[in-house]
């Protein structure tokens, strides 16, 4: 159990290397979730409220994309951002920004698919009332997203969980560079393979704690919100 106490020691003494890694991980995953929400929620709501040819196919594909393998996303983003790729001129490869892009691609379908379902369920309830109040298309989307906001938090949490837990995409596009693109998950993978279990265990503990804290925060925010709005 020497590894445990050593890992605990690093956490408790605020080891600067460890906290830099923790901070970057949170920053990358939260940025990705925010970007993915900005894309995914309106997209999900739009699909929920529109009827068009091939809609069922779009929904099936969107649902399937929830299970995108992170390494495949990593590879695709790597190809797009590499020197000879279409976005190579941006020079983003092996930067935290590239990691945000990769996780956004990974998380956006999850948020879009779950938002689509949530908004569509609420729409089934609201459609008569909103039609009677002559609410236009944009107003409908706004109303449904606003009224479903507490349920949509769950979609965001699912997205955050995915982003915080994945290692395959960011290790490809970020490169796990010490002090620059190293996150908790990439460091755990590296340190475990190197045999430095104390650091890996310490990071694992911190990662679990953060995920639980963010979920707890979201849960209690949702509870408080529901008490207010019903």
């Amino acid at each position: 159990m020497g590894g445990d106490s050593s890992a605990l020691h690093m956490v408790l003494t605020g080891d600067p290397g460890l906290y830099a890694i923790v901070w970057l991980s949170i920053l990358v995953s939260l940025s990705a979730v925010l970007l993915a929400a900005a894309l995914g929620i309106p997209l999900g709501a739009l699909i929920a409220l529109t009827r068009f040819r091939g809609r069922d196919g779009v929904i099936v594909v969107l649902n399937a994309l929830m299970g995108l393998p992170p390494v495949v996303v990593g590879l695709a983003v790597y190809l797009a951002l590499s020197r000879s790729g279409p976005l190579g001129s941006l020079g983003l490869l092996l930067t935290p920004q590239a990691m945000v892009v990769a996780q956004t691609v990974l998380v956006a379908p999850i948020i879009a698919a779950l938002s689509r379902q949530t908004v569509e369920d609420l729409w089934a309830e609201y459609c008569d009332e909103l039609a009677a109040m002559q609410v236009g298309a944009l107003g409908r989307i706004g109303t449904l997203v606003w009224d479903a906001r507490f349920s949509l938090v769950t979609a965001l949490l699912a997205g955050f969980g995915r982003a915080a837990a994945e290692v395959g995409a960011i290790i490809i596009v970020g490169g796990n560079i010490d002090g620059f693109t190293r996150t908790m998950t990439t460091a755990i993978a590296l340190e475990t393979s190197k045999g430095d279990l104390p650091l890996a265990i310490g990071l694992g503990m911190v990662l679990m704690t953060i995920v639980i804290l963010i979920n707890a925060l979201a849960w209690f925010a949702r509870r408080a919100g529901e008490r207010y709005a019903g």
């Binding site: 609201y126 008569d128 109303t143 709005a229 019903g230």
Partner: protein
Amino acid sequence: MRAPDTKLPIVLDNVSIVAGAVTILDRVTQTIASGPPTVLIGPNGSGKTSLLRAIMGIVPLTSGSVSWGHCSDASSIRRAIMFQRPVMLRRSAAGNLAYALATAGVPRAQHAERIADLLTLVGLRDMGSRPARRLSGGEQQRLALARALARDPAVLLLDEPTASLDPAATKAIEDIVRTVADRGVKVVMSTHDLGQARRLGGDVMLMHRGRVVEHGTAADFFTQSRTNEARTFIAGELLV
């Protein structure tokens, strides 16, 4: 609330709604004039709800037309409907009214005063901050009525506004309907309750199998009905 306007009568001309093999409304031709409430009665599935939705303009007609004050464009007509099972938005009671006011184009500066008036009218003055979905069934029904009235309608359509309410809650709704009708709002409502049709109706329309089988003043309808269907229904027998 404004004075009655010139958008009456509502004229339904040969209105039919057909869904697949089912005829929901069958060539309904009726005139709904200004005055005390028009009450639609009839068994389940006779087309009362569909007729109200057709008047509201929220269901596509298979054929026929609905005109308002001899004008076929209903987009500017101030009308509101309260559904049989109103859905409360996930907001406070006051938030539901604010939403309706906003969709009706009422300036935000007037919201607080209008909301207070509406809540008072329906007897929910102290419940503005309560989540609408946590109100009791009767309270939700009254809030839905207030929400419909927030649109300041010239015509108010009510689909079985007191179904599944107890007598006290029913009386509360009927009192509000009477107040609103006295202020000049044309009320068109459906009900299962013949007593309610007697209490509120200026004229009564009996529907059966998608058709209006009799339409007359309440006094005539209940004392000298012309059709077998009406006599059967009034006698409390099963009209199938």
